[in-house]
């Protein structure tokens, strides 16, 4: 289950985002408890799935399945012991079988409590990544406002309200099946709500039963947060990076690759010290796809998995499929060459992408999914002019130029109006 920036509950962290569903006052922490939403309000959605329907909000996962990319659907099923390769028998023997049977006989209702949360903490962020949105970056929000691209910055997060935060932690404490909390920013390390929730969970004595997941942007370090995290059962650490080159500075503006690399190494050493699970988190776009292999290289050398949540969908002009055929062919060749130079003995699908014993298999699997996407996704190069218009706006404000970082795309971008 998810609580988004507005305090609205959502049934799944992988749910396709739709602006009209982002704020729902009825399904909000201000108006109902997480338990009520989970057990009762979600019944209708749960029943749809039990009836074999394919809800539209699941379409991102179906898209990933189609291109051989491990989807949220597969990951969440795996936590219930259900694997696509042995679907019926693993369903029949799932540890959730009795709960599923109960829901099936009771219009989707459940007596379970939430085990697995995604907690959106708001948009506090010191970065303004070019593919990000005001809802996820306060810095980008301020820039968009200045450039007239939005009328107002997003409202403050639910977790800025100490009363709501206290209420939420109290509900977590009462949830006897709680296992995993995944935090999303902004930049979690500088978000006050993140530290506050960690402290409260430690103080109420349940930290040792909980695994914490979060992602950091490699621009900040907080010793106090590391000390807090070390008191939990485990940590799933996500580290955001797009390329190991200066192009990362442009895309994840205003980061600097030298500092980013130093912090990356520091996080990996820390994770090794505490036995945390690490993943490099990438958001490949049409700007970075051709250098994605540099991240794969680093990850391969350090035996770390690489993962993106999905194929980027918004903003539309950042999609990989915006690359015209010539650039797509070059990008494909680079990726294909990288794949050809790296082999493993396993060919089965890695669904638990955090398994450190399968990092190489997982990296190759991820690379293959992007190769498949480059081969099969429809041509959306007609969005190139939108991309260039957007980049020009940002570049003029930042005193920057995409051409400094991507000189090989100069002719392309010039032809599209740069």
């Amino acid at each position: 289950m998810r609580i988004n920036n507005s305090g609205t509950y959502e049934s799944c962290r992988w749910k396709k985002q739709n602006a009209t569903t982002r704020v729902n006052f009825e399904h909000n922490i201000r108006n109902q408890t997480p338990l009520n939403y989970f057990q009762k309000t979600m019944s209708e959605f749960r029943q749809e799935l039990l009836d074999g329907q394919t809800p539209g909000i699941c379409s991102d996962c179906y898209n990933m399945d189609q291109h051989g990319k491990v989807s949220g659907r597969q990951r969440q099923l795996l936590k219930a012991g259900i694997q696509d390769g042995f679907f019926k028998k693993t369903l029949a023997s799932s540890p959730l079988r009795a709960d599923l049977d109960y829901s099936n006989q009771n219009q989707g209702h459940t007596n379970r409590t939430v085990s697995d949360w995604q907690i959106d903490l708001g948009n506090y962020c010191n970065s303004a990544c070019v593919f990000c949105s005001p809802e996820s970056s306060s810095r980008l929000a301020a820039e968009f406002l200045k450039l007239g691209m939005i009328d107002q910055v997003p409202p403050s997060s639910w977790c800025d309200d100490p009363v709501l935060l206290k209420k939420f932690v109290k509900d977590l404490q009462a949830s006897n099946q709680l296992h995993y909390l995944h935090f999303i920013g902004g930049e979690t390390l500088i978000t006050p709500g993140f530290e506050k929730i960690l402290i409260d969970l430690i103080d109420c004595g349940i930290a040792k039963q909980i695994t914490i997941g979060f992602t950091t942007n490699l621009t900040v370090w907080r010793d106090n947060i590391v000390d807090l995290l070390a008191q939990f059962k485990n940590v799933n650490l996500g580290i955001s990076i797009e390329t190991m080159t200066s192009l990362n500075d442009y895309v994840r503006w205003p980061s600097q690759i030298d500092k980013v690399t130093n912090l990356l190494n520091q996080w990996i050493e820390t994770a090794q010290k505490y036995n945390w699970l690490v993943q490099l988190r990438v958001t490949p776009t049409c700007l970075t796809m051709h250098e994605l292999h540099t991240v794969y290289d680093y990850a391969w050398q350090h035996n770390i998995a690489v993962e993106s949540c999905n194929f980027i969908d918004r903003p539309e002009y950042m999609r990989i499929s915006v690359l015209p055929l010539a650039q797509r062919t070059i990008t494909r060749q680079k990726l294909s060459n990288w794949i050809d130079q790296h082999t493993t003995s396993n060919t089965d699908t890695v669904v638990n992408t955090r398994d450190p014993n399968r990092a190489h298999d997982q990296i190759l699997q991820d690379a293959h999914s992007y190769l498949n996407y480059l081969d099969q996704s429809p041509d959306e190069s007609y969005r190139l002019s939108d991309l260039v218009r957007y980049l020009k706006q940002l570049d003029s404000n930042r005193g920057n130029s995409i051409l400094t970082y991507l000189p090989e795309y100069e002719t392309l971008f010039r032809s599209a109006g740069y």
Binding site: L49, L50, D51, G52, Q53, T54, L78, K79, A80, G81, Q83, F86, F87, K88, K89, T90, L91, A92, S93, P95, L96, L100, N104, S115, D116, Q177, H179, Y180, T211, V351, N352, R354, D355, N357, R358
Partner: protein
Amino acid sequence: MKRYSDLLDIDTRLNLRLELEPIGNPDICISVDNYQQDYILSDNKIIDYRLDLLKPFSVVIELRNKQYNLNNETAVIVKLSIDDINIIPKYDYLAEYDNDHDYHKPTSHLGFNGKWTLTFDCPFYHWLHLHSGQGWLFG
């Protein structure tokens, strides 16, 4: 997509296949769940079992009456699959080997008098989930 109830309309038994390759003529006793059989093997033998999907069980293979001074090479090599999933030799490190030579390294080559036991102490697919690195399970 199928309805939940349709997805559960299946034969909920496991297909366990035990493949035994003898070296010499090993005298063995096999116990799988409630089945027990004795053999003096001379040729490769394949034995199929149908087991309950949800019930824990063990596979026990005992080599006996081997006379080390007469037939030192005598042994049986075990392969085990369940629903066509390779279990032995892949997971041989999970088996216990209690034998008269105090040999405890992971193996599927049973050359000493004693019992080799692989225990599935929970429903098979939970066991597989745990031992194949699939991460945590909702409890």
